[in-house]
Symmetry: C2
Subunit: 114 residues, 2 copies
C-alpha cells in the first residue's frame, strides 16, 4: 500500500496560552522542524475579542494548521506531512507549550492506493 501522506487531527483540551500568536507560531515551527519538515510560509491571524488564533504553516511536505478557542481552552490542530517526515514528533512541542489536560490524536492516511 502506498499513500500520499499522514494527516494527524490533534485536539487539545484544557489547554493554556491559546491566545498568543507568537507562542503558537514558534511552537508550530519547532514541531515542523522536529518532524523533519521544511517550512515554506506561515501566517497567523489573531481574532478579537476572544483572542483566538487561526493560522497555518505551509511545508514542502504539506502543512500544519491551528485554530484556537481560548475561552474553551480548546485547539484544533492538523499536522499533514508526506515523505519521510514523522508528524508525531511535533506533538511533544504542543504539550510543552500549551499544557493540555487531554490530547486526542486521530490519524488519516491520505491518498492511499493499492
Amino acid at each position: 500500500v502506498k499513500f500520499a501522506g499522514t494527516h494527524l487531527l490533534v485536539d487539545l483540551w484544557g489547554a493554556e496560552k491559546l491566545d498568543s500568536p507568537e507562542l503558537i507560531d514558534a511552537t508550530l515551527r519547532e514541531g515542523a522542524l522536529a518532524a523533519g519538515a521544511t517550512i515554506l510560509h506561515s501566517h497567523f491571524h489573531h481574532f478579537t475579542p476572544n483572542g483566538g488564533v487561526s493560522g497555518v504553516v505551509v511545508l514542502a511536505e504539506s502543512h500544519i494548521s491551528i485554530h484556537t478557542w481560548p475561552e474553551r481552552n480548546y485547539a484544533a490542530i492538523d499536522i499533514f506531512m508526506c515523505g519521510v517526515c514523522d508528524p508525531y514528533k511535533a506533538i511533544p512541542f504542543l504539550r510543552a507549550a500549551f499544557s493540555p489536560s487531554d490530547v486526542q490524536v486521530g490519524e488519516q492516511r491520505r491518498g492511499v492506493t493499492a
Copy 2:
C-alpha cells in the same frame, strides 16, 4: 451536542489541472465564498519539477488547504469551517474545476462537547 467546526477531508482522484496555482486559488476562493466564509489570507506554493501545488486559504471560520500530486491525478483537500458556514457547498466548485473521476469526502466534527 456542541462542536467547534465541521472538517471535511476531501480526496480527488482522476483529477485534471492540478498543476495550476491560479486555477486552484480561484477555485478555493469561490468555494469559500459559496460556503459563506470570509477570506483572510491565501498562499500557494508551486513545486518543481512535478508541478504540484500546496496552499491554504485562511478563513475567519477556519481554513481550506490543498495539496496536489498532478502525476497521480490526486489532490488532498481539507475544508474546515465553524459557525454557520456550510463546507459542503465548496465541493461542486472542486468538481467543476478539476473534473475528478472520484471524490471521497470524510467528515470530522472537531471540538465536540456534550
